[in-house]
Each structure stands twice: as C-alpha cells, then as structure tokens.
Symmetry: C2
Subunit: 396 residues, 2 copies
C-alpha cells in the first residue's frame, strides 16, 4: 500500500470534468471545451511540413535534442513576438514547452514554496492554476471589473498577505470571462507588482484571435523591470494536439527554467518542433490566422445573437473582442451545475462557472465556448439553453 | 528581482554536461551520449505512419485528447507487455508519458515529500534521478555487485534511515554500468521492499536490446504486491525524439498519476501517439528490434575487443549482455574527468563516471556508449582512449 505525498491531498478529480465526459459524443452540441475548430486545422500543410522534415532531416528529427528547444523555432518565435509586441527578444529569451500547463509547471517549480500565495483573477482558468497545488501553493482571488484586476483589491491583499509569489493573469480575451484588460489597467497592476517585487505570469494563448476592438501592448512589453514571464502558444492559432508553447522571459530566468525542464521531461518532441518550424517557414501563418478570425467572428456574432434571442433579459454576459469564450451570469437563484445536468439530457454541454473560482464560486455562472460549433449548431444549442434557463426561472 | 523557490538550490548546471557540449561536433568520436544509432531509425516507415494518420484522421490527430494517452496505443502496450513479461495488464494499467524523465517527475509528485529518501544503485542514472531533487528528496546509494543491489546493504540502510519512500532500479543492462541483475537478486530485493512496504520503480528502457545471455522476468512481473511501478519506452527500440514512454502500474495508481499529469502537462502529443500506434500496427516492431540487436551486438563486440586490445590490463570493465553502455574502472589514481578533458582535445568524448554517483563518486570510472558509432569509429576512438590511459599511468 503506497503512501502518497502530502500534495496529493490537494489533487482531486473534478466532478464537472466527470459530468462532461459525455460531451464528446457526436450527438452532443458542446460549448464546454476550449477546443479550436478542428475543421480549420491546416492538416495538409502540417502533413507536408512533417513529410519534408522527415525526408530531409529524418535522423535529426527522431533523435534527442536540446532542452531549450529547436533553435530555428525559438528564433522564429522571438522575431514574431518582436514584430507583434514591440520587444527585442532573441532565442535566449525563449523556451519551448510541452503545452501551457507545462509552462506553468516549470514556473511553479521555479517560484513556489509550500504555502506561497498565487494571486489570480476572479474568475480565472483554474484548470491551469491547479498546477500550483502540486507545489502546495495557495490561490487567492483578486476581484475584477470590465477593465481587469481591480487595483484597490490587489493592494488590499498585498498589504495583508504574506508570501505572495506571483500574480497569474490572462489579460486578453480571458478564459473563462472573455474579458480584455484596458491598457491603463495593465500599467496600474504592473506598477503595484513592481512595487511589491512580485512576478507576473501573463498567459497569452488567445491574443492573436481578435475579432473587434483595438490591440494594446501586453504587460510583458510595457513592464519596466524583468518580473513578467509571458507564455504564447501554437495551440489556438495552429492546433493544440502538438503541444507546442513558448515562455518569454529574461535570459537568466530562461536559463533556470531550462535546468528545471531538464529535470522534468528533458526536452520537447524534436520532430514536432521541426515540423512547426517548417510549417511557419513554408506557410503564411498570418493568413491562416486571418482565416480563423473570419470564421470565429461569425460564430461569436451568432452566439451573441442567440443569447439576445433566446436567453432571458435578466442575465448578464460578456461581449468578447476575441478568444473563444462568452461568460454568462444567470439570475442568482439558478445553479448552473444543475442546469448543466439538465442540458446534458438534451444533448447540450457547457461548463458551469463554479469551476473557475479559486475561492468563492458564483454558482449562477456559465462559460460558453463558441469556436468549435458552426452557427447553426450554436443557434440550436443556445436555443435549448435559453429554454432551460426560462424553465428554471419559472420554477423559482 | 525574482525570489526563487528553495528547491532551486538543489538544481545546478552539470559541469560535465558543459564540457560535453563540444561532443556534438561532427569531428568528435562520441561515446558520451545514450543515443541510439540514428542511421537505424525507421524514418520512411515513421513518415508513412504520420502521413496516414494525418490523411485519415487529421482532425483528431491535431486536437486535444485524453490525459491517459491514446487508447489503442495503451492497449497495444498492455498486450505486448503481457506477451513479453507474463503480466495481465489492460489499458487501465498504462499511462503514456512524455519521456522517462516525465515518468519519474509524475512518480516523484505522487510519492516524494521534502526530505523523503530515494534509494538507488551505486552507480545509477543520476540525470534521471535529479527529478527527485525538484521535490527536495534525498538520494542514498545502495552498494551493488555483479548481481544487482546488495541485499545486506539495503537492509542496513532501511534499518537505520527514516522516510525511505522508494527504491529506483534499472535491473536490466543498467545505465551506466551495463550490469543485469540475477533473477534471484530481483526476488530478494523485492522481498525486502515488500517487508518495508516501499515502492520500487523499475526503469526498463533497454530490456529488449539483449545481445547475449538469458532473459529473466522483470521485478514488475514477479512482485506479489502492487508496489512496483514500471516504465517502458519507445526511445531505445524506435527513436527518442518522439518522447513516447509508458508507465505500468496498478490501475488505482495510474488514476492518481493521471490526475498529476493533468496538472503537469495535460496530455502527450496526440499526433505522435497516433503515429506510433500506426507504426506498430503496420510494421513488425520485433523485426526492427532484431535488426537493432544485430547491429548493436557487433558494436558491443567491437568495443569489448578494442578495450582488450588497447586498454591496460589493470582496468576492470563490464561485459554487458545488452543495452548501450560499458562501464570501466580505471586504476584508482586516474581521474576520468581529467582524462575526458584530454580526450576531448583529441576529439574523443565519453562521460566520466563521477556523474553517476548520488553520494561518493568514484573518480576513476567512465561510461562508454557503443550504440551510436560504427565498429571502425569505436576501434579508432577506443584506441585513442587506450593511449591516453597508458600515458596517465606513465605519469603517475
């Protein structure tokens, strides 16, 4: 009978994840996952890139390689970030990781001692943050408004809480809320983090999927010291199954993270890194993203219309400028997990919002993904959700 | 200025790894790495498998998938293990991981609290074990003879040491020593581990690469309780760049490891898992392994001959029945890291043995890999090493 480590007490299977196992069935209209639209994956181009790498460089592609990641890919990422967000990065500022979850695992190992505190938005992408539970860290929520974390709430927590090690934020098209921070708020929160000398993790997987509104520079670009660690990802702009993500940070922080990755999984998949490097060399990623944006914008608009048409007027919802999610606050008396159980019976899935709170869940909230179903299905599924919400209201 | 976690004190860059950075240059005869022979990789077949997966199942291959791993691959692994090692595993006993290093990272997270003790062979594959440093575990060496860990030394340590959580062993063609445990010794060590109720990690990446001698059942097969966790790997029998490894364990342990992996990197690469599943479905892996064995046996024999021909008679060395490594003990006065610096000047690389000791290094030891250079290069490189050792002896 094995005796497990103390950290295992923090790790439990998610009930909502269990509920949602049926959401994979083909008859289910699912707005639950954070899945990109599979029909938009550049399958042929990715196949061509893989074939080319194996034909021209097969021995290298199947052999061990460096922990830092495939150098041409790191150089490409650095250049692209520089162009997009006005930085002056080189490959030394980039570490390739196996998914965003691993990026957080490595950062957790770098920074978190037992009982250290991680601050996060309320709501936040808790599934990502659960990583820090492995290091027996403690999550505390900072309240948010439409512009991002509320400065006074952050100040209050920092003034009264010991061992705050980092602030985790998704400032652009946040998961789950769909919200985007204002530029002013990014500067204000950074100023507070700087004053307390606390690391900021800026998770930016959705940033390039903008359907409306204006781009503003990310926190990583405007930070005046080196305490911001940024993650970027091919998962949402290309495909998630290949698990290729990058961390941007000061070179000396990257060096430490490389040491950690050596002791975590040694290196990312060599072939996959070379395949993605070949894909971006031989294809126009910007054109591909423009194509994604075109489709996702239509779906976002269809989702917003369906909410307007079918949901009661007493709800609140975000109108995201990009990303994959709309966040809905139902009348307080409705429990969204109960609603989910009912909607699954009618073959419609979503994620109830309670999963996204580190401390005090709002049980009347729901996250609706609009990227992986077409307009017709969005309309049909949201119609059912609207009916179920109306029924719940009548039952009160 | 970021404040790092306490565990970072344990993680330092390896000086020998730094020395060996030059070993990648094409002019160097390298016996340093644990690299399989790249010219034997089934590149065309792997390319065909990847092309087929993307053509027939591209959307699935590029999308998110389950943490447990691709079900047909887990089923294939279970069946193959059952046939090879007489177990009765199902897919529920198999978790696919991103390399052996990750298998150990997950096991470390499952079992190791700060200051817990991990027992290992002396010498052992310390690079793998460094994982446990991340969890602030402490490594203690158990002395070994030609048959494996010495039972009385294990008993002595267990009787006098608190918080021993696991025993890490590579019983077959061990890295670095090339030794293989006797069947009797496996049973004896298991009996002690059972008595103290301690987990045993049986790392078995080389097991299928046998060039001579008799196969005996691994510890996982003969254990009477469920405390053995086994890892197996495609890295040495197929290719390491794809990072596909598996853990075999009791289903309830796999469930815990799945929870941990969810919070570590979510899942392995979907495409890669499907590609390997397609490869083993459409190719004869046994025939491929037979081909590897044929070549590696010639190289092992060439390496042993070269040692006999060029090294002084005062050294000791293992005659491995399989795997990738020969272990040499030089006369005590020779420091193998000094020798390495001299041999690198003559474009010959190996790993000095001090890297493989958790406690008391033997500085007069060296690990020689024989898998990734052909006979001619082995002969030429070992001749230079022999000359350098002879020179060192004269200088004494």
């Amino acid at each position: 009978m094995l005796e497990y480590a103390n950290r295992m007490k923090n790790l439990t299977a998610s009930e909502i994840r269990e509920l949602l196992k049926v959401a994979d069935r083909p008859e289910v209209l699912s707005f639950a996952g954070g899945l990109p639209a599979a029909e938009l994956f550049p399958i042929k181009e990715m196949a061509a890139a893989g074939a080319s790498v194996l034909k021209n460089n097969g021995e290298k592609a199947l052999q061990y390689s460096t922990t830092e990641g495939f150098l041409p890919l790191r150089e490409w990422v650095a250049k692209r970030e520089n162009k997009r967000i006005g930085t002056e990065l080189t490959a030394d500022n980039i570490l390739i990781t196996h998914g965003s979850q691993q990026a957080l695992d490595l950062v957790g190992k770098l920074l978190i001692n037992k009982d250290d505190v991680v601050l996060c938005e309320s709501p936040t992408y808790l599934a990502a943050l659960n990583v820090f539970k492995t290091f027996e860290g403690r999550m505390i929520e900072v309240q948010t408004d439409q512009d991002g974390m509320i400065v006074s709430d952050l100040e209050r927590i920092l003034a009264t809480t010991a061992n705050v090690k980092l602030i985790y934020v998704i400032p652009t098209f946040q998961n789950p809320s769909g919200k985007t921070w204002s530029f002013e708020r990014k500067k204000q929160i950074l100023a507070v983090a700087d004053r307390y000398d606390i690391a900021v993790i800026e998770d930016a997987p959705y940033e390039e999927l903008r359907y409306s509104g204006e781009f503003t520079l990310p926190m990583f670009s405007i930070s005046e010291n080196a305490n911001v660690i940024r993650t970027g990802s091919f998962s949402k702009v290309l495909c998630p199954g290949l698990r290729i993500v990058w961390i941007c940070a000061e070179a000396k922080v990257i060096e430490k993270l490389v040491l950690i990755k050596q002791n975590t999984d040694l290196q990312c998949n060599t072939l996959t890194q070379m395949q993605i490097a070949e894909f971006v060399r031989t294809n126009d990623l910007d054109a591909h993203i423009a194509h994604l944006i075109h489709t996702y914008r239509i779906r976002r608009d269809a989702a917003i219309s369906a909410i307007e048409n079918y949901f009661p007027k007493t709800i609140q919802y975000t109108q995201p400028e990009g990303g994959l999610f709309i966040w809905v606050e139902l009348p307080e008396k409705i429990n969204a997990t109960d609603l989910l159980q009912k909607s699954l019976k009618r073959h419609v899935a979503f994620v109830s919002g309670e999963s996204f709170y580190a401390e005090q869940p709002k049980y009347n909230t729901m996250r609706l993904n609009f990227s992986c179903m077409d307009e017709e299905k969005i309309n049909a599924g949201f119609k059912i959700l609207g009916e179920l919400i109306m029924e719940e209201l009548k039952n009160e």
